[in-house]
Subunit: 238 residues, 2 copies
């Protein structure tokens, strides 16, 4: 059984303010809920709108489709909604490659970058406070279960970059071609905002400016930040 | 002045059937309309909803916002809507790398892949007939002006692959790591459907199965097809 207070709580989690207050976030869909459970994320509650699905989730609550639709952030809810506890972020300095995001605003981009960190074994993702919230439903829809395996912190980047001993690489349109760059075994990779790139404040800490060479007509749009992150992480790990 | 027939025509172009019949497609936004014009695409008509913007486009027609909203595929129309003539696709065998898509269904993925082809100087993109239409508004929104610089054909892939003399590479989860693959100077890169990968029918023509090695937990979702294309094209061109 679902209580009125639970419904109210889940609906409130659409807003960042209440996610931070309750330290809870919502993911939707059988696959991603299962992935999070398998990755060891701690569930607060799983809701399903169909008794058939319930057997697949321990302690799931069946709710009418109408209620699930109310709780859901999707235009077409898919029958499974999981509420999970946020994990405490570890702010330790990590001894491997770290990805740093300077004001990445698009939820799909952040979601893809989290998935890429997971794929390439980057366990620490450091975001500026003005980067989109990683528990935003659209981010979670794009990350799949990766959110449980990548440690994400929101900190002042100038503070963070000042403290690290690792070489700091930054992606710039006019940087050195990544093929020629001397990529260290450990380092920090800074990726900038979709429209403005890396800010001057953050850029002053970047010791090596790198770029992805273009082979087509010079008029092409720059690469999307998630695409560029994919290429650079692949080059870093190869 | 816009006529009733013109409005009806533009609205009809939301459907693939009418785009094919009239050989016209629609893009929206000042930036992308400008990019297409600069890339040499032939405009049928540019509509703007603001006299201020009109000065920026030769022969643009001013229409009331209400009408532009009717013509637009966007939830929030942005004031500029361009109708362009499709170019005749060239079905010549290209003497360079060619990207082949086997049933890529997501418009955002196709849009990103077109942009990537443009970035990496791949001028020929060959799609299976069940790949999403490249003139779909959501594809065009993701490609920006690249649609004018990449030649896109929809053909039977078995026919096409049978005829080519180039080595045929295909992206598989269990392929040979791309770092170890012997990448030719010219070749065909086949990318598969988002859920099913490359079909068996197309796969029989693939002579070299390649993959992008994973460094994180083995449970991570596979890479998105557009992301994988980015990494592979970068490796091909390096």
């Amino acid at each position: 059984m679902v209580t009125k207070n639970q419904i109210k709580l889940v609906v409130s989690l659409k807003q960042k303010k209440y996610r931070s207050q309750h330290r809870l976030f919502v993911v939707e869909g059988e696959k991603v809920v299962n992935e999070l459970l398998q990755a060891g994320a701690k569930p607060f509650k799983v809701f399903v709108d169909d008794a058939v699905l319930m057997g697949k989730f321990k302690d799931a609550d069946v709710v009418p489709s109408k209620i699930l639709k109310q709780m859901s952030s999707l235009t077409r809810p898919n029958g499974v909604l999981g509420v999970f506890y946020m994990t405490e972020s570890q702010k330790d300095i990590v001894d491997d490659w770290v990805v740093v995001l300077d004001a990445v605003r698009d939820p799909g981009n952040l979601g893809t970058i989290i998935r890429l960190c997971d794929w390439f074994g980057v366990t620490q993702l450091v975001c500026s406070p003005d980067t989109v919230d990683c528990y935003n439903p659209k981010v979670l829809q794009a990350t799949m279960g990766s959110i449980a395996r990548v440690n994400i912190v929101y900190v002042d980047l100038e503070d963070y970059l000042q403290k690290t001993n690792l070489p700091i690489y930054g992606a710039y349109m006019e940087g050195k071609p990544v093929y020629e760059a001397d990529l260290a075994k450990k380092g920090v990779l800074v990726m900038g905002n979709e429209a403005k790139g890396i800010s001057d404040e953050v850029g002053q800490f970047v010791t090596k400016r790198i770029s992805i060479p273009q082979f087509g007509a010079a008029t092409a749009e720059s690469l999307n930040v998630a695409t560029a992150t994919a290429i650079l992480l692949n080059d870093i790990r190869r």
